[in-house]
Symmetry: D2
Subunit: 267 residues, 4 copies
């Protein structure tokens, strides 16, 4: 079996994490059943670049259940969890990723994924697509298309498309309303606070929190902060969003004024 993970013996711990989250993702579970029955990816090789943790790992397993041969890498060396990567490899999915990879290792993992000659590219930030178009055009033939999750990746894709350089269609997942809701507003809105509460060993109640921007992420972060008892200040250059923040009960200030007042700044 062909994979690059830190330590395959970490697989049991990773498997526990994946099993746990699976029980709490009923929609994905429904999709899995449908995929198993209908095999939409039968005979297709799918490259997946993601923040490699339990939930995305289970996504890879669902694609496999749908008939795909799945090849996985991490989209950021700092988010890759070695036990989860090991669990996927142990399950027969090719994984090329480890935590804290050097830039050279990270690049090497991406290239190894592409050298498996995937027909479908699930990208997160645009690195797979970039390498395909700029460094390894030899691997382009056979690629049908794919999907890109992030704003950054979509901006890169749009720029390529405008110049007529994009060689296959990509779905802009980030434009979906559900993506805004679940990833940005609820997902980021909460996980920002989990991270801050855990890292700082401080209480949020009573803190003055400055949130830069009142877009989907900013709204989510601000709402959760308010719900946790923080005093929230919004900075926003778009006048409509600024007045929306004002009407939602937040103070709206310039960053210059907010800088002196905040205990925590989220940008």
């Amino acid at each position: 079996m062909d994979y690059i993970v830190r330590d395959i013996k970490l697989a049991p711990g990773g498997k526990l994490k994946i099993d746990w989250v699976r029980e709490h993702m009923p929609v994905l579970e429904e999709i899995r059943k449908d995929f198993e029955a209908n095999q939409p990816f039968k005979g297709k090789r799918v490259a997946v670049s993601v923040h490699l943790e339990a939930k995305t790992a289970y996504l890879a397993k669902v694609l496999k259940a749908g008939g795909a041969e799945v090849v996985v890498t991490g989209s950021n060396p700092l988010s890759t969890q070695d036990d989860v990567a090991a669990a996927l490899a142990d399950d027969g999915i090719r994984v090329f990723a480890w935590y804290n990879a050097t830039p050279e290792e990270y690049k090497d993992h991406l290239v190894k994924v592409l050298e498996t000659r995937p027909q479908i590219i699930i990208d997160d930030g645009g690195d797979l697509v970039h390498i395909l178009h700029h460094e390894r055009q030899d691997l382009l033939p056979g690629v049908i298309g794919g999907a890109e999750e992030t704003t950054t990746g979509i901006l890169r894709l749009r720029a390529m498309e405008k110049e007529g350089l994009l060689k296959f269609p990509m779905m802009a997942v980030n434009d979906a309303y559900c993506k805004h809701l679940f990833d940005n507003r609820y997902g980021t809105g909460e996980s920002v606070w989990t991270g801050i509460m855990r890292t700082t060993n401080l209480i949020v109640s009573g803190k003055s929190v400055v949130v830069a921007g009142y877009g989907w992420c900013g709204k989510g972060i601000a709402m959760k902060a308010k719900g946790l008892g923080a005093k929230v200040i919004i900075t926003e250059i778009d006048p409509i969003k600024a007045i929306e923040a004002h009407m939602d009960g937040f103070r709206v200030l310039t960053m210059d004024d907010a800088a002196a007042l905040g205990d925590v700044f989220i940008t």
Copy 2:
């Protein structure tokens, strides 16, 4: 029948109001059933001084259901509703009250109530008890005791008790935890906003609201204001209450500083 109301022909409208609130006071309704069965006030005359509107009117009717002969007056000329007063009179309860009574009329109504020789005094602000002790001691004999609802009234009673002047026991309703919860936190907390929204024809969202004091009423008012989307500033001289407001996510300022920031001030 002996009563003083503005216009007895208003009774049908007042009766509708009383019937409506009765359906939404299930606890008082349970008490009524118990009172009807056990007649705890049988043979007793009960003087009631209240903000005379539908809910308190129904309280008077429940006392009557418990066997009492009830005599009612308003505790504030501006809160008396003439149609509700008429409905009570029409129902056979002696009422001496009308909206916008002059000080002389108001005093006369109180005295008329006392001249019915009640055994029990339900007071709201202390006026009935005051007259009994200072002006009409001739009416004191026969009074068993009673209850006082307000902080003001209780302070007056405590002062009298300290000097050995209080001639009968009074229950301090205002000291009850449920009184704090339902009258102060939820009741005042909401009705303040009903009044302001109705009177000003303005929206609360986005307004800067200054609440003076973070006691039971202040907490209720502040919580509802936050819930309606206002930016709330608390002024508070008690350091514990001030820090509680801070931890609940409110800005805490001196009134000097808050004065320049507020759109609405609630004292």
Copy 3:
């Protein structure tokens, strides 16, 4: 002077109301200054159909300040305030509206507005435009265009446009993001509760509130209800909106199930 109001002597009271709201509408005030300086409506007659109360009355005055000759009617006989209408008439604006107009009177007021031969139509629900196209085509010449505020009115306009019947361009105000925010989410969200609190003489805290639909209005109403301490249940047939309500912390039920649980229903 040509007008139809209930009683011109009510003008001073209406003027007080208009003066009060003007002080709390700083954006409209800025627009007034700009209009006064630039006279964008100079020489134009503008027909305005609105819920005729203090805020919309001031809008009419701002249009007049911009050079327009303004003719006003109410868009719903039950929302017209006679004192405000009188104040406008007293200020030299032609008004045809009174509270509780019969269907015949209401129609007559609309027609009288159109017979002044306006070039611009500000409609609220589509009645002015409907009469122009279906009953009084003789008044169509000279109309340049206008604006429509409501969803209902816009649906009627789109249907007419589809059939090629619409004779002049209309701006769909309801499609504006700020309209959703300020009229629907914050405006309706709050005023629904002002109305219910005032009408029912009940407290919102602790009530089970069923909100039918989680669109802009529904979200606003639900948020304010939660903020006031109600337990909110949402019914919603659109699955994305339903899951948004779920993630915002509301119970989502079918109306069949919700019907047994609600104290208050808002549809």
Copy 4:
């Protein structure tokens, strides 16, 4: 130097943690300045049993700054942080504690603390006081008194006092209003969620959370859960607290009914 810690070389990491929290505890910092100036504990040996992490470690340092000779142990083997313990030891404070101590080791650490012959006992759960009274009465002479933090510890102390067994006065810290506010409502209210969010890798938004009891902790946990977007159900046998929860907008059910509805249960 006399101490028992896992590894004194962990001290630098522990020191960083203590320095970090110190900057965020301005009130304790003010107390430190006062203690340094006035030396209230000069010549006194103070035994401290606490959840040994950065914030309580700094408390020990503040006592030392006040002139005390401080001896520290952990009040629960699972909460002791070895790097923080090492930092205290490195700073010249006698520490007897390590993470995951066996029951025998834990007991041995407590006894070692007492064998230093402290005059003042700061207890957390009552173990130090228990040993002094029941196993090592020989160490009682010289003890002046102390303080106990927890409900459990105070219950144990009250039982001893009732039987006339308590040999020195203890302050019941848990009875203080600020303790309820900061430790229970805000502290536990938030840290429960930090722990759950971190441990489960799940989002709180949309979850049905059952909170058993609406006391100080329960209120804090429920408020934060609501603020994070959960649907909160309260179980409560005290009718006053139950109705307070109801009026705060929570569903109140028996645990039997709640058991079928909850995703997360907090008892």
